[in-house]
């Protein structure tokens, strides 16, 4: 039996006319790595901040380890590790001094600091003022602060936004290592790749609602068609002339009808027939790509909008 760590029941949060959380019911279990995905304004940060106790829901109930924030705020703060979208530190405090300060705020001594410095790979930067850290190092320090109290639940709000691909991958590696300790991770992100790499459970959020909930393969197979062919032809395509085995596939064409994509069950089965048809019609293939469907494709097909688009 999996142990529920975080439970939300009918949680509603409004900001004026905006419904940031629309009657959310959600249970997260110990050891899960959960990715919260959605465009800006989807309600991810609001949801995370309510779990962190920084915001109160208008109605509904949030329980963490079976307790509400009003019952046990100090205990919950002590058992959680959090990192905000963007935190800056005391400019002229070194990495080690910052860790020492926060360790004391969690009521701990200095015994964890060496370990954390190692975990977030900042041992060589221990004497550096935080103001002189790079973006990636700063995010690693923020993660380090979140790890000081050996949290059972780790909440990271867009930990890699604005980082270059290498720094991003460094952070993912750290998070993969922590996984072995049975930590529960909740992570919000814009990046599909991040969720695909790290998370064994993915929640799609849009306009305050959870649109989809499951593992990556569950989400993809739920669509039935998990692979994708993208192409560009030299002239407009006439769908009616497609052979029978291709006719019923969901072709999506861009205006002008030359460029398009189609979701298929198996590329290896559908592609030969498609190529054969192109040759037969005398079309010239200007571009061809086939790949597994990604979370991005999935999100577009659910909402009609891209994940990284602003609304």
């Amino acid at each position: 039996m999996r142990e529920a760590v975080i439970e939300l029941k009918g949680v509603v949060k409004r900001f004026g006319p905006l419904l940031a959380c629309d009657h959310l019911d959600l249970t997260l279990y110990r050891g899960e790595y959960v990715g919260l995905l959605g465009p800006n304004g989807a309600g991810k940060t609001t949801l995370v901040e309510m779990i962190e106790g920084l915001q109160k829901p208008d109605s509904g109930e949030i329980k963490i380890f079976g307790k509400t924030w009003s019952q046990a705020s100090k205990e919950l703060q002590g058992r959680m590790g959090i990192s905000f979208q963007e935190t800056r530190f005391f400019d002229k405090l070194s990495v080690e001094e910052t860790l020492r300060l926060f360790s004391s705020l969690y009521g701990g001594g200095n015994e964890r600091i060496e370990k954390v410095l190692g975990q977030v790979a900042l041992k060589e930067k221990r004497k550096t003022y935080t103001v002189n850290l790079s973006g990636g190092q700063r995010q690693r320090l923020a993660l380090g602060l979140a790890l000081l109290n050996e949290p059972e639940v780790l909440l990271l709000d867009e930990p890699t936004t604005g980082l270059d691909p290498n720094s991003r991958r460094d952070l993912w590696e750290i998070l993969q290592e922590i996984r072995t300790q049975g930590t529960t991770l909740i992570l919000t992100t814009h990046y599909m790749e991040e969720a695909e790499t790290l998370c064994d459970r993915i929640l799609f959020m849009d306009q305050g609602k959870v649109l989809a909930d499951g593992s990556l393969s569950e989400l993809l197979t739920s669509m039935g068609l998990t692979e994708m062919i993208q192409f560009e032809l030299d002239q407009p395509m006439d769908k009616t002339s497609l052979p029978l085995e291709l006719k019923n596939l969901p072709f999506e064409l861009e205006p002008g009808l030359k460029k398009g994509q189609v979701r298929v069950e198996k590329v290896i089965e559908s592609l030969p027939a498609f190529l054969h048809w192109i040759e037969e019609r005398g079309h010239i293939l200007k571009e061809l790509q086939s790949r597994r469907m990604t979370l991005d494709d999935l999100f577009v097909s659910m909402t009609g909008r891209g994940l990284t688009e602003d609304d």
Partner: protein, 351 residues
Amino acid sequence: MIRQLMLAQLRVMFREPGVLFWVFGFPILMSWILGIAFSGEGQKNLTLPWVGPDTYLAELSQSGQLSKEEGGWRMEVWGPAKEVLHFKAMEDSEAQTWVRRGRAQLIASFDGTQLHLQLDPKNPEANATFHLLKNGLENQTLELQIDPITTQGGRYVDFLIPGLMAMGIMNSCIWGIGWTLIEMRMKKLLRRMVATPMPKGALIFSQFLNRLVVSTIELSVLFAFAWGYFRISLVGSLLALLALIIAGNIAFAGLALLMACRTSSTTVGSGLVNLTTMPMMILSGIFFSYQNFPEWSWPYLSNLPLSLLADGMRAIIHEGAGLAQVAYPLTALTATGLLCSFLALRVFRWY
């Protein structure tokens, strides 16, 4: 190109309401306030302590230059602006107190042959008063004898040092607590700290203790300098001085909290800092006595936190006051600080 550059900068300036105040409102406000203090507007009441029998003044009144008024004598001085000097007879000790507190810069007395004027020649206000008086006595064949004030308490620097000490406490708290909190909020550092099990009071209390330590050291250094260079010594009780430093820190820590309770913008923050400190620096008698302002305003001005602190410091350092004599400023400052903290923490934005 120059035009676009200028336009861009002007747009940025006019879209920042705080800037508008500092560019247009503040200079007008300043000139208005200082104008009241230093112009004849609203009938400037320059009152000079007169020590000894006032027979000489009675003599002068017969030549028509002086007239008797309630509580003393009045002299109209002919000049570009008609100014009025008042003479008030009092004991020497009272006259000295007037000078120490900046209420008067000049003490007059007559020894039978000479008119003695006690003043600090380095004090510009005393010089101005002297010239005014000299004008008023123009057609008198009279010897003026100037007795420079060189003992502690009556010099301008004596007035200045305790005021600067008080201002040190104010600035230390407003910047060290108020500004720091605003900056921490802006950086989301405050929010991050509050998300730990740290009791919120611990953060505030640690800041207060820090300010107390820092300002005590700062004041000791300033006082040591004043002692070495200007020969200012502590006449009153050290205990009372320490108590006043604590009370001052409580008062300004409270004000700092109130100032910093909501905003997370450093632009607004720097405006708030100026708005809190500037008026008091002018009105509280740090560089010149608030008794330059109209008399009706004195009871208000003397109760500003910075005035209470500065006047209390002067009383202890120069007049030998002890705990009992500064009981009022101690209580008032502590109460102000506690009230402000209470209000601030009720509406404080931690996230």
